[in-house]
Amino acid sequence: MNRAWVTIFKRDILLALRRRSDVATTLFFFLIVASLFPLGIGPEPAVLSSIAPGVLWVAALLAGMLSLTRMFASDFSDGSLEQMLIAPQPLPMLVIAKVLAHWIVCGLPVVLLAPMIGLQYALPNDALLVLVLSLLLGTPALSLIGAIGAALTLGVRGSGLLIALLVLPLYIPVLIFGAGAVAASQHGMSPEAHLSLLAAFSLLSLVLAPFATAAALRISVE
């Protein structure tokens, strides 16, 4: 029965391609948040490169979070979600399909853009590489955990702010390991431990979060 999740995945990618502005908004947000810090702090390269890991990761976190509300909202309001819930398919698989599509549309562009912003922050080359690697390993966890928050806040008033309150505390481990990896490589240490913890965290969320999201969707649609 894996055709259904492929269908959902393709459909979501197709929808994103027909609404390209949504992708652009996330990316633009990431860009503008990351560009505000030098304006607030000053153009000193040494200072910038020391805050770069944290700033870039926080910016990626916020950009990812902003796009979360869209993950299920339109499916919820047009009734597609009901159809998914009563389909004779394992719901967690459909959730994974949706999260994967969401990550490709909203997460991957940020990962690809990050090194360019890293350059603006005077990050050395190997740190840039670690930055991309850490984002690549960490952002899927953000989408997976964020999906729980997105599912819980469906049809709730003020869901945009609420989702931040629910999801950001859960993002803290990703932030610590992700930014830590970049900082470690800046200080000439091996980022391996950070990266493997990040990967472990992502894997754990891949195993657990879809079930929680599926349960949350059933609650929200009820």
Partner: protein, 249 residues
């Protein structure tokens, strides 16, 4: 799971039962608090390093313990409520959250009042204080989610699921914050440097923790009664209850 359990779990029977239990827990809380305070202030010796300021730990540590313990209990009720699709456990979870949040906030404030005279700073990014802060965020998220969903049954379930997700994450968050803290040893201040424990100190903290625990039960029962009254406003038993209480309208 037997019939009896179901009987006591219906709001109608639980409401008066809780009402009878509250005074007992309230008295237990007061007794433990009196003994605990007496030990904290009159028996426990002065700490030779920190002087009298260390006495703040007699509220700080028990409050921190309770803040974590209540979250676990809340998640336990939440799991029970989700798996049985029952109302009472979900209401208990909801009733515990504000008290848990208050203890978390107290732990944070008293921690910072302990830190100021000891280390000269109101706030240090120490692993425990930071985790406590994140725990506060988790409580606030739970309360915010529950209060923004209008349908109580849906709010119960959504809140319960969030509590479960939170409780799975708490150890991971704690571990990662600890890791972060040891990596950034620039400021080598640790709140963990509690004074060398004398047995009486430990006893004082335990008694205070017991007092807080009993207090929590009493307050949670009070709150669960309020929630029942508010939710079942239209039902007959609430009307009977309201008419039998009397008082001014």
């Amino acid at each position: 799971m037997n019939i009896n359990w179901f009987k006591y779990s219906s709001p109608q029977t639980f409401y008066p039962l809780a009402g009878r239990m509250i005074p007992w827990f309230a008295w237990a809380a007061s007794i433990f608090a009196v003994i605990g305070l007496y030990i904290s202030f009159f028996i426990a010796p002065t700490d030779f390093q920190q002087g009298e300021a260390y006495r703040i730990i007699f509220v700080h540590v028990p409050a921190a313990w309770m803040s974590m313990f209540i979250y676990m209990v809340m998640a336990g009720w939440a799991a029970l409520g989700l798996s049985l699709n029952a109302r009472l456990p979900a209401m208990m979870a909801q009733a515990l959250a504000p008290t848990g949040a208050i203890f978390t906030l107290l732990a944070l404030v008293t921690g910072s009042f302990w830190g100021k005279p000891m280390w000269g700073a109101w706030w240090v990014w120490d692993a425990r204080l930071t985790s406590e802060l994140i725990l506060l965020f988790l409580y606030l998220g739970f309360i915010a989610l529950q209060s923004s969903i209008d349908d109580p049954r849906k709010a119960d379930k959504a809140g319960a699921l969030l509590a479960l997700v939170g409780v799975v994450n708490v150890p991971i968050i704690y571990f990662s914050v600890k890791w972060w803290n040891t990596l950034h040893q620039g400021s080598t201040i640790s709140m963990g440097a509690a004074p060398k424990m004398v047995t009486t100190m430990l006893l004082g903290m335990l008694l205070m923790a017991l007092a807080f625990w009993m207090y929590t039960i009493a307050v949670a029962l009070m709150r669960v009664r309020c929630i029942m009254l508010e939710r079942e406003r239209a039902s007959d038993w609430v009307k009977e209850q309201a008419l039998s209480v009397g008082g001014n309208t």
